[in-house]
């Protein structure tokens, strides 16, 4: 399995800017990539978000090619406290309002006026029926809604390309290995609400509020995953895991803050027939014992820099293990290095089945020869004889 970031664009000699602003180029480049390298699956081509959409809404959460970083560079997140330390109650009491209005008005410059939309304005009878609608008559809110309509049109243009790719690929022999993503509640709050620094201070200063907020996000993250799986008719839901990696949290912190709500999301997805595909970015050596606490045969774990012998041993009979083709080998190694590593992986993890060869981290420009060597070698050597 190959899970690229902007690699298909670079492979076709295009920049991230090219594919984010000319949606037709996405399909051409991604198709070429999968056809040339011949992995067993495709993972969609949603990586290049629509640039015009981001421009219209004045997206603040990321810098993207031509907008804060160079056209040749991929988009990158700008961490910040998009949710303030004293806003936990607002999030806990009504996550929908908080995310759709308060948070949205901060991460999209064009939606700033939405913060004037009243919270819990109620309509009960004729008297006062128009009160909650007064903000919609003001010029700033109307401008925000015009931006939303325009952005919606742009998103529709973009998804047309994405859908046509997703329809065509299985016909070419590449089934999709995912229907879409959801996240661990700790990462939702730590990545783009409170930021790394914010959530880490909250672990000390207001641990109970943080725990409650993660509980409040849990059903939303389950519904997000289930909804996408149903819509795509594909049970595989990706979960990129960020801030629970080795070094980020102590064992105790992981067990108290990270794992309980992640496990609830996983179990909630499994109950609805979804197969969570957990992508443990960074190292996960210190978490292997903890993550064993899952029902057998219901999850797959993709590892980046984890010791794969240990991962295989810990999850044998519990989960499918994947990944660990490292970024340094793909980028600066020789084809021979890549082949040797692939052989080691198959020898170590392939015993008794339950291993899928894949890259460990999202990749952009790598040595294409190395990538090809890995796919070809895996097809030749990674077979049951």
């Amino acid at each position: 399995m190959l899970i690229p970031s902007f690699a298909p664009a670079f492979y076709s000699g295009l920049t991230p800017h090219d594919v984010m602003y000319d949606y037709d180029k996405i399909k051409v480049a991604w198709k070429k990539f999968f056809i040339d390298f011949q992995p067993d699956t495709h993972g969609g081509c949603e990586v290049p978000s629509p640039g015009r959409f981001l421009d219209i809404l004045d997206f603040k959460l990321y810098k993207w090619p031509g907008h804060g970083v160079s056209p040749e560079t991929t988009y990158q997140c700008i961490e910040g406290e998009y949710m303030k330390a004293d806003e936990y109650d607002a999030l806990i009491q009504d996550p929908f309002y908080f995310l759709s209005f308060t948070w949205a008005s901060r991460i999209f410059g064009a939606l700033e006026p939405l913060q004037t939309i009243p919270h819990r304005a109620s309509i009960f009878e004729m008297y006062g029926v128009s009160f909650p609608f007064i903000p919609y008559g003001t010029p700033p809110v109307q401008a925000a809604y015009r931006a939303l309509l325009e952005a919606g049109n742009e998103a529709v243009k973009w998804i047309g390309v994405i859908n046509s790719f997703s329809k065509e690929m299985p016909e070419l022999g590449f089934p999709a290995h995912q229907a879409g993503p959801t996240k661990a509640p700790f990462d939702v709050i730590g990545d783009t609400l409170r930021g790394t620094r914010g959530i880490m201070l909250d672990m000390y200063r207001q641990p109970d509020k943080l725990l409650q907020a993660m509980e409040a996000m849990t059903p939303i993250m389950i519904q997000t995953g289930v909804g996408m799986a149903k819509q795509a008719g594909n049970p595989l839901i990706f979960m990129p895991l960020h801030k629970g990696a080795d070094g980020f949290l102590s064992d105790e912190q992981y067990k108290k803050f990270y794992w309980p709500t992640l496990r609830k999301v996983i179990m909630g997805l499994i109950d609805e027939g979804v197969v969570p595909l957990l992508w443990a970015e960074g190292g996960y050596n210190s978490r292997l014992e903890v993550i064993r606490d899952l029902p057998k045969g219901k999850t797959a774990w993709l590892f980046d820099l984890t010791d794969m012998a240990k991962a295989k041993k810990a999850l044998d009979g519990i989960a499918c293990v994947m990944g660990n083709m490292p970024m340094d080998l793909l980028t600066v190694g020789t084809p021979q290095d890549a082949k040797e590593h692939a052989k080691k992986l198959i020898d170590t993890c392939g015993k008794g089945g339950g291993y899928i060869m894949a890259n460990g981290a999202f990749f952009d420009e790598v040595k294409w020869e190395n990538l090809k060597t890995i796919v070809d070698f895996t097809k030749e050597y990674g077979v049951y004889k």
Partner: protein
Amino acid sequence: MKEKEALKIVEDRLNAGKEPLKILDDAQRAMEIVGQRFADSQYFIPDLVYSGEILKEITDMVKPKLAKAAEVKRVGKVVIGTVAGDIHDIGKDIVVFMLDVNGFEVYDLGVDVPAQKFVDKIKESGAPIVGLSGFLALAYDSMKQTVEAIKDAGLRNKVKVMIGGGQITEEVKKYTGADAYGKDAMVGVSLAKKWSGAG
């Protein structure tokens, strides 16, 4: 770590007319313990972030009481930044912070730093140690180009270069031509101490 207790002690000592510099010295010693515990895997990133926050609060309380800006004894100079094309700063900021509390004069050039800017700062500051940070794989090339720019400026034998970041390994170190890589902030501090003779 006990934030409220620590701040109360500082307040009491300031009210009792104790020497403000002595308070900062003690806070500095506390940070050395934090660094050691991080190196020993007793503390993790949240503990570094939290202790840094407490240190900042203490410094803010003590500073107005200082007669003049305290002359902290510095053990060495380090020029550091996230390389061109990459804007990730969390890891770099932790290294800057740990170098600072360990007595280094740190010239933090920020993120997406062009190679020439590193060269200029090395010349201007005379720093013998350079730290290059990066999270994306494109940083491999930016690091390599930065090391080459340092070489082209005739400075390569005057500085030691260390690199770090999520996807940095021994292989990447070789590729970039750096002298060493650190898997975490305290390894960076150890390298800087070793190279400056402060270890």
